[in-house]
């Protein structure tokens, strides 16, 4: 089967993905390998931003692909593999985050609660030192640092909306919020980032 040439790049990409998904559904592991290659980076980026921990993010991505393979024949629109995978990734990442928080709460032999148990973020030396112009790479780093400083729910809502590209109703379900609340969190996060990074976004 070939992909018609009169399609837009987005449609072509969806058609290519659909071909790979159908191949994988037939048991073609090479097709599944290509799906992994295509989606592992965004999946890892989203998991990492949600978890703030690289090894946890890698485990989540691995689990997500295995789960996706198991459930592949339940995917009704093969061209929508990407968003479907992102839902799995974000769901697993949020579950892991919750269970991690629970473990920290109920751990009997954990050290007394103090700074050692708090959530940490790496300081970004470039984050608070505005300069005249920033490259795309620097801007990305500044955005990443600003995202990491957002309140938890705003951060999760923003990552799921702007990076995982999930619809707001799916985000509402995953975060246990109303759609209205998700809109508010996404908007608040975007406004904070825009205001904070205003001079770099000119």
């Amino acid at each position: 089967m070939s992909i018609p040439e009169d399609k837009t790049p987005k449609e072509q990409s969806a058609a290519e993905v659909a071909l790979l998904v159908r191949g994988a559904q037939r048991g073609d592991l090479r097709a599944f390998d290509l799906l992994v290659e295509r989606f592992q980076r965004p999946a890892t980026a989203v998991a990492y931003r949600l978890l703030n921990h690289r090894d946890d993010a890698m485990e989540v991505v691995q689990d997500a692909f295995l789960k996706a393979f198991d459930k592949l024949d339940t995917l009704d629109s093969p061209g929508r593999f990407g968003p479907w995978l992102m839902r799995i990734v974000s769901n697993l990442a949020l579950n892991r985050r919750r269970s991690r928080a629970l473990r920290q709460t109920i751990s009997l032999d954990a050290p007394p609660r103090g700074d050692s148990e708090r959530e940490w973020v790496l300081p970004d030396p470039a984050a608070d030192t505005p300069d005249e112009t920033v490259s795309g790479e620097e801007l990305k780093r500044k955005i990443a640092a600003a995202v990491a400083e957002l309140p938890e729910t705003q951060r999760q809502a923003l990552i799921l909306f702007s990076m995982a590209k999930l619809p707001q109703k799916d985000i509402a379900k995953q975060l246990g919020l109303s759609v209205q609340a998700v809109k508010w969190h996404v908007f608040s996060a975007r406004k904070k980032l825009k205001d904070k990074l205003a001079e770099y976004l000119e």
Binding site: Q25, R26, G27, L29, F32, D33, V36, E37, Q40, R41, P42, T44, A45, V46, N52, R54, V61, Q62, F65, L66, F69, D70, D73, D115, E119, W120, V121, L122, P123, D124, P125, G136, L139, K140, R141, I143, A144, A145, V147, A148, E149, P151, E152, Q154, S162, A164, K165, L177, Q180, A181, K183, W184, V186, F187, R190, K191, K194, A198, L201, E202
Partner: protein, 236 residues
Amino acid sequence: MTMDNERDNLIPRREAAPEPTPRVDESDLEFLLSEFAAGQLSGGKAHRLRKQLARDPGLSAELRKYSALDAGLDALADEEIEGVDYEQQRSDIVRLVERKVLLSHRRPRLRWQRVAAPLAMAAAVAIALSAWLLYPTGTVAPPSGDPGGPETFVRVQTPAPDAPEGVIRVALAGPGRAEAGTVRVRPVRVEWDELRFGALATGRDASRLPPGTVLVSADRTPTPAIQDPLLHLLIQ
């Protein structure tokens, strides 16, 4: 990447202020701008905002900031995370999938295969049963001296040849189906010159039958409930 949290040499995250009640004012211009930049605004609202943007350079500048922010967030979504070996990650995932497939001794099944498998099995059983039921003598004894292997011992009983009508009841006790025997079906008229059956039945004796046995016996009990989906398919 500079913000990879390895939990040492770090500073604590600032305590977040309590979050306000999450309720957005959808007529707020800033909110509309943010939604517009994110492609979430359509129809009349988008049209009005476009007109306003055309008149207000300050508003356009704010929109450009949101657009630049979105471009940055998009780039962040495609970013490679420092310290992640993507080739290794990919080969690990594919190896685990291969292992999974090998261990399960199956290929992933398509939806049509999930439907077709029971149908094919039902068809096979139907053919086998038809062959036994159409056997002219009504009873097939096991070969003498043969203790009856899983597929060799079959006994068939039908209503007496002179009976005007009757119920054929079938007990299945094949390999993996020793539990068969709870299936009941409607009575069926038996035409001896053209033996038909629309029904299969119980296995009161299933526990005593060796594997591979098919038992057909006469009965007049009208018991139409069918509990076994496979046999239900078979009699349709």
